[in-house]
Amino acid sequence: MANLRDYYRRNFLYQSHRLMLPELREKVVHTCSECGFFVQVAGKTETRPGCAAIIPYYASLAGRVPRELKVLEVLQAVGKNGLEQVLAGAGPHRQACGLFHLKMDK
């Protein structure tokens, strides 16, 4: 470190003492929109962001998560309460949650 000003400006005191699990770092750095489970749920009149990790078929990685899911597919898979959870669990700018799985094709 060149001088005292840079030492503080670059947050060196804390960076050199930080203990961070890679899994946590990934979740802190990314947002919901960068998650592989982030989908658009298309209804009759509107399309809203949703989280496919609530749907067991996608959560178990048995199938590729599409960009868009029809609302009927979600209803068939998890029912009405499940649909509410799918829609409540995602927002493009929301901080990544514990189920975060980095999207394959960034």
């Binding site: 005292l4 503080y8 699990l21 979740k27 514990g98 980095l102």
Partner: protein, 413 residues
């Protein structure tokens, strides 16, 4: 403006430190564990047998973090022993950071159970810093079920020191006028940034408390410790100019992985299997982050806990497992005799640069290896980390296969 408000405006930095985090997470998930002494510790059979966290009830009996599991069992026989489940801790931690980000976007996670938050300019929305701290504590308790200690201060250092002053479930404000009264009588080891070695060097100068360090002549400290001497002098006086930087986590300096082996490994053959698996894990992380690394670090610890770390810098940055593995094996052959038992192995890659360009070779080997890694990464992204393994991972020396086996039986690794 009243003087009380001036104090709060001067102290906009908060540090939230979760109390006995790992144990609290288990207590939050299982109501039957609440009020009982809970100890989160490794498996002694796998030689990870130390206490990682003890609940407040266990700490009352004298259980401390870092002691061996059997010692903890002797002190507190009625304790409930739980194996660590890092997936849950990461999940809780990201939820807590999410709560903090609702108060201010300036949140800097410091470890899995600690984070700084700068609430400057939020007075009109949420009130002054102490009020925000109270709201934050209650929301974390209500939504995550974990109690925390919060330190409030004019800078990160004082917030950090304040958080450690009242545990568990504390809320402490430490302002500049409080420094001589509350901070200076503490042992110098308690000052953030002072570790075991630095403490011994300071004791050589007859510095035993933070106050003695604060009053010590600055030129002498600078001559002895260089720039760190100046930082120590400022820190002891409660001065810290470090910003709360939410983006600091985006800068990656190195990626590494280390593991304590289930038994002492002897001979290069067994160790090479572990090295290859570690290189695979490290290079995958490096590729996922979009980096390429140049310097390979090999860390080894023997049965007497004596460790050795050696590095080798490659001619160009790489993401290839094979290249990193070759460098690590060279280091192993150079610096570690084959008869010497190994207890812990670690590999890390530093000198990271953005992987935007790659030097091709004449016969297309680099391109071939890159495509192979790309295909394997796609399979792992799609079907999970254990979906495709190298054949050596099926040998008894493998560490990944053992993990896969334990996962198959539903045990956390």
């Amino acid at each position: 403006m009243r003087s009380r408000e001036v104090v709060f405006l001067r102290c906009p930095i908060l540090l939230a430190d979760m109390n006995s985090f790992y144990a609290s997470v288990h207590q939050a998930m299982d109501p039957l564990l609440r009020g009982k002494p809970v100890i989160v510790g490794g498996d002694p059979d796998k030689r990870h047998g130390i206490v990682l966290a003890a609940s407040i009830e266990a700490k009352i009996h004298g259980v401390k973090t870092g002691m061996t599991v059997w010692e903890a069992g002797d002190i507190c026989p009625q304790a409930v022993f739980i194996k660590p489940a890092h997936r849950h801790y990461v999940n809780f931690s990201s939820r807590i950071i999410g709560i903090m980000k609702e108060f201010s976007p300036l949140v800097e996670p410091f470890s899995i159970d600690e984070a700084f938050i700068d609430v400057s300019g939020c007075e009109q929305i949420y009130g002054f810093s102490l009020e925000i701290a109270r709201k934050l504590k209650s929301r974390i308790k209500k939504e995550a079920g974990v109690s925390c200690s919060i330190g409030v201060g004019p800078n990160k250092l004082l917030a950090k020191m304040a958080a450690g002053m009242q545990k568990p479930d504390g809320l402490t404000l430490l302002d500049f006028p409080d420094v001589p009264v509350k901070m200076w009588p503490l042992p110098v080891r308690k000052l953030f940034g002072v570790g075991n070695r630095l403490e011994k060097r300071l004791q050589d100068l007859n510095i035993h408390t933070i106050g003695e360090l604060a009053r010590y002549p600055l030129p002498v400290l600078q001559k002895r410790f260089g720039m760190i001497g100046h930082v120590l002098h400022l820190s002891a006086n409660g001065i810290d100019y470090s910003p709360v930087s939410p983006h600091s986590l985006k800068q990656v300096k190195s990626v590494g992985h280390q593991i304590t082996l289930p038994r002492d490994y002897r001979g290069y053959h067994d160790l090479k299997v572990v090295l290859l698996e570690l290189c695979e894990i490290v290079c995958r992380r490096v590729r996922l982050g979009g980096y390429a690394g140049k310097t390979v670090h090999l860390t080894l610890k023997d049965a007497q806990f004596v460790w050795l770390c050696r590095t080798r810098t490659m001619p160009r940055p790489t993401t290839s497992t094979n290249e990193v593995y070759r460098a690590a094996v060279e280091l192993l052959h150079l610096y570690w005799p084959s008869w010497k038992p190994v207890r812990m192995v670690g590999v890390s890659l530093s000198g990271l640069v953005r992987n935007t360009a790659e030097q091709m070779d004449l016969f297309g080997d680099v391109e071939k290896a890159r495509r192979l890694h790309h295909a394997c990464d796609h399979i792992k992204n799609r079907f999970g980390e254990q979906s495709i393994l190298k054949a050596v991972s099926l040998t008894p020396e493998s560490i990944l296969y053992e993990r896969k086996d334990s996962l198959r039986h539903g045990q956390p690794s």
